[in-house]
């Protein structure tokens, strides 16, 4: 299990985090076309190599953090930040409802 460098908690086991998908910007809903919106929802860069992505540190600081990870080796490093500040987290795009295999209400 690789570790993720949490800017608030230090390096922690990846199992403490939830993957939130590739960092990307949500299109303006007022002007977006169907094609653009669905490309935003579904298309992936699916990079083999270093990529920037969001993780949610659910059992730790409960912050959404941005991390760089090499998807071939699972090496991780803090997202390149300007002037030493914690990098702003870009929105992730993970569409969809949770799986249906659970009992509700």
């Amino acid at each position: 299990m690789f570790r993720i460098p949490c800017p608030y908690c230090g390096p922690r086991d990846a199992t403490e985090f939830r993957h939130q998908g590739e960092s990307r910007n949500r299109p303006d809903p007022r002007t977006v076309t169907r094609g653009q919106w669905r490309a935003y929802l579904y298309e992936k860069d699916n990079v083999a190599g270093w990529t920037r992505e969001n993780w949610y540190h659910g059992v730790g600081c409960r912050r959404f953090i941005s991390v760089e990870r090499n998807t071939v080796t699972n090496e991780t490093r803090p997202a390149a930040a300007a002037a030493g500040a914690v990098d702003p987290v870009l929105p992730g795009a993970e569409a969809g409802a949770p799986d249906a295999d659970s009992t509700r209400r």
Binding site: H19, R34, R38, Y42, E43, N46, D101
Partner: protein
């Protein structure tokens, strides 16, 4: 030429100490092919086989950057079934099961399809409801599938703890008698041998590094062993399908996740069905060699790493022992991982792309091996006729932009 396999020929060659001819031959790369198939896994090899057999198109190259069957086709847990949720899924996989049933005799290669029955356990009322839904859709398509209760489960799998006191009590299961396991390598080799015998050229260790596209259509491929001209390129890769498609300028709605598996040391056979639990994210079967073969759901983050993780085996063991607590002493011998191309609707992407002549048979998630024969058959038909067969008409790439996703999503959290 291919020598026929049989018990008699085996005995006679054995006694005379004669070797068999090459199962598939090695060739120099030709400058031109009628079609180039990328990926010598079950999909690519089956497509090549059916192109030659059903359509007489034999000037075909199958390229693989590594050894034959070394990707997902040689790393999956070899479960075959057709009890899907949607009518289009059921029809499609049912055709695949039918092809698998006659594959050994068709290919003259024993693929050891063991139709031992397939159980999908339900641990809560919502999964029981989904099992019923699947059973009803299956039956409407003529597929043998029924919801059974804990007592019947216990008689099929005496090791199963079906008591009500467990943390995840077993309320029932979807029982699918035609489901089973197969020898995955044998399927790959059998198709390779059959395709080779009909003139298809299989090129291992031949990596595609570029795809030539001019004026919106395919002209050829660049490989690590040289350039090939061809009007048709069929992307049959898994794990790398989005990167290969990008060589042709086609973007896919795919993220690649490792799917891990593990095998135990052999013990005397005690498990004669395939057991799947979606809630516990585990599936297990026992081979004729006595090994238990386990799988789980894909890793929860995309990755191209196939090194495997410890937490996978830990979770797997915990879940297996929830089901069969008496086998705690069994030891895990080996773990491995393959790469799965996950699509947003747990269904494949098959057919044409915006680039003319560049076809895809990708996005197979965790269920690609099950579909190898039918996908090959359908893609061969598409290549030969230029028309998309009905059987795959629900799975075009364009469905994502059109917002017409396939409904397997509801049931396919773990779909083995």
């Amino acid at each position: 030429m291919t020598a026929r396999y049989s018990a008699l020929s085996l005995l006679s060659r054995g006694l005379r100490g004669r070797n068999w001819p090459l199962v598939w031959r090695r060739h120099e790369l030709a400058p031109t092919y009628d079609a180039v198939i990328i990926g010598a896994g079950v999909h690519g090899l089956a497509a090549a086989y059916y192109l030659a057999v059903n359509h007489g198109i034999r000037n075909v190259a199958v390229l693989d950057r590594s050894y034959l069957g070394g990707g997902g086709s040689g790393r999956n847990t070899a479960i075959i079934r057709s009890n899907y949720l949607t009518p289009e899924g059921v029809r499609f996989y049912d055709r695949s099961v039918k092809l698998y049933e006659t594959l050994a005799s068709e290919l003259n290669f024993n693929v050891m399809f063991s139709q031992r029955g397939h159980l999908t356990l339900a641990h809560n009322d919502s999964s029981l409801r989904t099992m019923r839904w699947r059973a009803e859709v299956n039956k409407l398509q003529g597929v043998d599938s029924e919801v059974i209760g804990p007592d019947e489960i216990k008689s099929l799998v005496p090791y199963m703890d079906v008591s009500a006191q467990t943390r995840y009590p077993i309320l029932g299961a979807l029982y699918h008698p035609p489901g089973g396991i197969i020898r995955h390598d044998a399927v790959n080799w059998g198709y390779a041998r059959g395709a080779d015998a009909r003139g298809v050229q299989i090129h291992e260790y031949t990596e595609v590094v570029g795809i030539d596209v001019e004026e919106g259509r395919v002209r050829g491929v660049q490989t690590s062993r040289g350039h090939i001209s061809t009007p048709v390129v069929l992307n049959c890769t898994a794990g790398w399908s989005s990167l290969v498609s990008r060589l042709a300028g086609v973007r896919l709605p795919i993220s690649t996740h490792p799917l891990q598996a593990a095998v135990t040391e052999p013990v005397k056979v005690f498990l004669n069905t395939v057991v799947v639990s979606g809630t516990l994210h585990v599936y297990v079967s026992q081979t004729d060699r006595g090994e238990l073969v386990f799988g789980a759901s894909t890793d929860p983050y995309p990755s191209y790493s196939t090194r495997g993780s410890l937490e996978f085996t830990e979770e797997l063991a915990g879940h297996v022992l929830e089901l069969m607590p008496s086998i705690a002493a069994l030891r895990v011998l080996r773990q491995w991982a393959g790469l799965c191309d996950m699509t947003p609707d747990f269904s494949p992407i098959m057919g044409e792309t915006p680039v003319e002549g560049f076809l895809v048979d990708v996005g197979w998630g965790t269920y690609g091996f099950k579909a190898g024969p039918v996908a090959g058959e359908a893609m061969a038909e598409l290549v030969a006729t230029g028309k998309t067969p009905d059987l795959i008409s629900s799975f075009p790439l364009s469905r994502f932009a059109d917002g017409r996703l396939v409904g397997e999503k509801g049931a396919a959290a773990v779909g083995h």
